[in-house]
């Protein structure tokens, strides 16, 4: 298992307090225990867990599945493992549709918890690494649609994210306008007007994060990403 920092923790949402303790001991990580959806939902905006374990059937006819889509949208690379006491549970199919990564059956077995947690964590961290693109001092997180640079951080619309991702992948070469349209909008026909409007928004977002990375228009050919490398003090003195 990879080295994990001491302040990392997982979440357990289960009305049975034993479950959180077994998970905590199994993976040697602190588990914040919640027994109701209300209690957990109110804390979601303030926490960043390493993984979430969610019981499907909670007390008072609540379903842990109700919160899974919200968790998946908020934490795209956080393993969500659902827990059920019934191996033939129809809710499992629903759990996967809603974004769960894996499941555990009650009784909770420590070795199974360890194995599933480690496998899912490694898989999602690998995906997270692949979703990060870099161009000069600008990085693009395609999963969260966030572009970050030395002077700021901007959220992008889905189409803007796809456009920037294509330009970064092209590594400074010119990408034809029609190729960018196809990559960003798919088979949908898009007017030049709409395309340039999105480009304008993207340029503005880039200006908000770095002055070293700019989108250049190459007349009649397409667009490219111009990445200025920083000038060292020695060179600037010359």
């Amino acid at each position: 298992m990879q080295q994990l920092a001491g302040n990392q923790y997982v979440i357990t949402l289960d009305d049975d307090p034993m479950v959180s303790r077994i998970i905590e001991k199994s993976i040697s990580l602190r588990s914040l225990a919640f027994s109701t959806l209300t209690e957990f939902t109110s804390r979601v905006p303030t926490i960043e867990p390493l993984a979430v374990f969610v019981d499907i059937h909670l007390a008072n006819d609540q379903s842990g599945l109700d919160i899974v889509p919200q968790l998946r949208a908020r934490w795209p690379y956080c393993p969500i493992i659902v827990i059920t006491a019934d191996p033939a549970d129809d809710f499992l199919v629903d759990a996967f549709r809603k974004g769960a990564d894996d499941f555990l059956l009650k009784p909770i077995k420590p070795r199974e918890v360890q194995a599933r947690f480690q496998t899912r964590l490694a898989h999602l961290q690998d995906r997270a690494a692949k979703s990060a693109l870099q161009a000069g001092d600008v990085s693009l997180d395609t999963a969260h649609r966030v572009v970050t640079g030395p002077i700021g951080r901007q959220f992008l619309a889905p189409v803007e994210t796809l456009l920037l991702a294509q330009l970064i992948k092209a590594k400074g070469t010119v990408v034809p306008k029609e190729t960018l349209k196809r990559e960003a909008w798919g088979p949908v026909r898009v007017s030049d007007n709409a395309f340039y409007r999105k480009l304008f928004e993207l340029r503005r977002a880039l200006e908000g994060v770095s002055s070293n990375v700019k989108i250049q228009s190459v007349y009649g050919a397409g667009l490219s990403l111009d990445v200025q490398t920083s000038v060292t003090p020695m060179l600037s003195a010359l």
Partner: protein, 133 residues
Amino acid sequence: MNLSETTMQKTESSIYLDLELLRGLEELGSPGADSLVAELAHIFTDTTPVILTELRMAAKNDQGTTASRLAHRLKGSAANIGAKHMAALCAQLEKSASTNPTKINQEIVERIIESFSASVHDLQQHITTARQN
């Protein structure tokens, strides 16, 4: 055969407990009174009677949906502490209460309560034996 061996043999042959599961839990820490099993047994002993009282009430009033939900909850916690006999009875009640919600099988409810007491007894013996070893 000394007392410790007799106790061990009795616990090992318990019809109420899943000893393999308990051994898996015991791998996670020190055996005996401070073990994870002891901690879980304490939680189980503390939290279950309230749910059993609610279950008995729901059964008495033939509230099938409530009885089924409570049986499901008890099934999970009993299974987690290795109380396999109780978990099986709870599964039986959960199914029958959802199939026939207006007529709850009172006998199963009483058997669950008896099984809970027997499980707690055997768990305590198991913990004592583990501590002695």
